[in-house]
């Protein structure tokens, strides 16, 4: 039986007091304990940002790499060793801005990885610039006259790409968030969990209070069916007065790993390189010439 303590890294968190990241760490530990996933079976991949620091605070294998590039790293690690549970922790700037192209294409490939985005709607680590998810009119030091662009809607984008699992969590609702993370990890295929997270230091608009007045669980709507892509897309557009939380879209389908024949014989790192196979090809080629 794995206890919560097994996931403590002992490294002191370098986040501001009141940061939503503490809640995500908490929820994830809870999810991992409930799933009884051994730390050595988990690989956490992160980019750069306050969210990118996340794996330092969890005892497991981790890769803390480049800003924006966590997804390609995670994808290749999963291909090389599909036995690992691969979880990606990204910031919203990290995943949707710098890494936006990777986000789109990793969804298309559907590797079995869980992509968790700490969406505080601002660039935290670089001290408060608008991010791709900042709302129109949001003012910062670098957007002193307010953001003039439409915010990126990660859920609608993922659903439009037929992403196999699309969910939204909120750090003010920890038990629910832990359940979502659990479901995302258990889901076979690319699972996006966008987590609404206040940033007490740089986002004075989307505060806990702001969210508390708006969030509700999708389950409250008995008509809602996460298997219906169009309905899910429609729900994903809901923002403002009311903000839905939960699983928006579910479409189980073959993962990338399952479709690569070489992986049927087990993870690549355990497979022996067989020179004889190359010799056959060389013979074939010399017969041709």
């Amino acid at each position: 039986m794995l206890s919560r303590e097994e996931y403590h890294s002992g490294v002191k968190e370098a986040w501001c007091p009141g940061c939503g990241n503490f809640g995500i760490l908490n929820a994830e530990k809870r999810a991992l304990v409930e799933l009884q996933l051994a730390p050595e079976k988990i690989l956490i991949v992160s980019g750069i940002g306050q969210a990118g620091k996340f794996p330092h605070y969890l005892r497991c294998n981790f890769f803390n790499g480049l800003h924006g590039r966590a997804l390609p790293v995670a994808l290749a690690a999963k291909l090389a060793n599909p036995e690992l549970t691969v979880i990606v922790h990204n910031g919203d700037g990290d995943c949707y801005g710098e890494g936006g192209n990777h986000f789109i294409h990793t969804i298309r490939r559907n590797p079995d990885i869980t992509c968790i985005v700490h969406n505080n709607k601002v660039y935290g680590l670089t001290k408060g610039q608008a991010s791709p998810t900042s709302d129109k009119g949001f003012k910062t030091k670098v957007q002193p006259y307010g953001v003039i662009h439409e915010p990126l809607n990660p859920l609608a984008l993922a659903i439009s790409l037929d992403c196999s699992f699309v969910a939204r969590g909120y750090v003010g609702d920890l038990q629910f968030l832990a359940e979502l993370i659990k479901a995302g990890i258990q889901h076979k295929g690319f699972a996006l969990i966008d987590i609404l997270q206040p940033c007490p230091t740089f986002n004075r608009v989307n505060t806990f209070r702001w969210y508390e007045e708006r969030v509700y669980h999708l389950e409250e709507d008995r008509e809602f069916d996460p298997k219906n892509q169009l309905k899910a897309f429609h729900k994903a557009l809901e923002w403002g007065e009311r903000i839905p939380l939960g699983v928006f879209y579910l479409h189980p389908k073959p993962t990338m790993e399952e479709q690569i024949p070489a992986l049927a014989a087990g993870p690549l790192y355990r497979q022996k390189i067989q020179p004889s196979k190359v010799l056959d090809i060389m013979e074939e080629l010399s017969a041709l010439s």
Binding site: H67, G93, E98, Q129
Partner: protein, 365 residues
């Protein structure tokens, strides 16, 4: 949003206290830069922050891009239509821009790129560093090209050289890089602002810019030369331009060199600290001198060689494990002894440390 008419022009020659990053932004605005594209990264965030505020005030345009790749390609587009534009970043972001810089060089477009260098490789740290000297002075991206690289050593120079960079870029149709570091970017110093400064009067007309083709054939911006011998011809033309730059645009400062027994060579932050070491030595009657390259490309090889050969011993001081020293060795070409003192990874030496090292070299410690 304030309109252009609301700008209060600063009074002539007013001296104000300013951080290096802000001085770069002000130098660019003075030079007529009205398009800024960038992406957040420490330790240069004050440049976009200042540009974001100031661009609308002066009738310009600020865009926070979705990545550095986007930012440099926005610069590419703005440069192609003939406006003065710039971007700024720090080391990892500048690496991402290298592809675009290569294309700007290939297409011969003027643009200003600021690198407030931090420690590397990889994510490194955010301390001041001179680890990007090779990348900056050797072209950085792919292909046979150079960019002009200027290395300011004070907040005043960050203002002045950024202004100069725009003229150089337009005159030679070339990307110009300002290479500084986090120490200089964050440092506050008095700066004399000079609102009456004007661009050089011999700038060529931008008769290549994509300004619309009414009553004339359309123009093309490209860096693709597939025809037999075309690229070679293009490369040779670029080379001719680089040679002209080497003969015309060398900048350096010499300090206490006339009677020196040991010549320090340093640029940027290292040069400031080396200068303090020279001052310390001179107070004690020890003859240190400093040669400070200001243009890192073109490197002031001839001037350095002439000075070094007279002194006989040269100590290159850098915040890295030895990059500019290669240019120093090429310049002196075996005509004198060369030594190196450096600290990498954001380690910043102080003048005392350099002074002590000089004493040891001179056999006086």
């Amino acid at each position: 949003m304030p309109s252009a008419a609301m700008i209060t022009t600063p009074k002539k020659s007013n001296k104000i206290l300013m951080a290096g990053n802000k001085a770069i932004a002000e130098g660019a605005i003075l030079a007529g830069c009205r398009y800024y594209f960038g992406y957040p990264i420490t330790p240069q965030n004050e440049i976009p922050a200042h540009m974001a505020k100031r661009m609308p005030q002066v009738g310009g345009c600020f865009v926070q891009a979705e990545s550095e790749l986007a930012a440099i390609n926005m610069v590419f587009g703005a440069a192609a239509v003939g406006v003065r534009c710039m971007t700024s970043s720090s080391s990892p972001g500048i690496s991402l821009m290298q592809e675009g810089i290569s294309y700007l060089a290939g297409a011969e477009l003027p643009a200003v790129i600021v690198n407030i260098c931090r420690g590397g490789p990889g994510l490194g740290n955010i301390s001041g560093s001179q680890g990007d000297y090779f990348q900056a002075t050797r072209g950085g991206g792919h292909g046979d090209y150079r960019t002009i690289v200027l290395g300011p050593a004070s907040v005043q120079e960050m203002y002045d050289l950024t202004f100069a960079a725009f003229d150089l870029a337009d005159y030679y149709r070339i990307p110009v890089m300002i290479l500084a570091d986090g120490v200089l970017g964050q440092m506050m110093e008095p700066v004399v602002l000079d609102p009456d400064r004007r661009s050089r009067s011999d700038l060529p007309e931008k008769n290549w810019a994509l300004t619309g083709a009414k009553n004339r054939p359309p123009r093309v911006i490209k860096s693709l030369y597939m025809g037999e011998g075309e690229l070679e011809e293009h490369n040779l033309r670029l080379d001719k331009k680089y040679r002209k730059i080497q003969s015309q645009e060398v900048r350096y400062e010499e300090y206490w060199v006339d009677d020196a027994n040991l010549l320090l060579v340093a640029y940027g932050s290292s040069a400031r600290i080396s200068k303090a070491a020279v001052n310390m030595a001179r107070k004690r009657g020890i003859a240190l001198g400093l040669f400070r390259p200001i243009s890192l490309y073109p490197f002031p090889s001839a001037a350095l060689a002439a000075r070094a050969v007279k002194i006989g011993r040269v100590l290159t001081v850098e915040m890295n494990t030895g990059q500019m020293i290669e240019d120093v060795r090429l310049a002196v070409n075996g005509s004198c002894q060369t030594f190196f003192y450096g600290r990498p990874g954001g380690g910043v030496f102080d003048h005392e440390e350099i002074f002590q090292y000089c004493l040891r070299l001179m056999g006086q410690a």
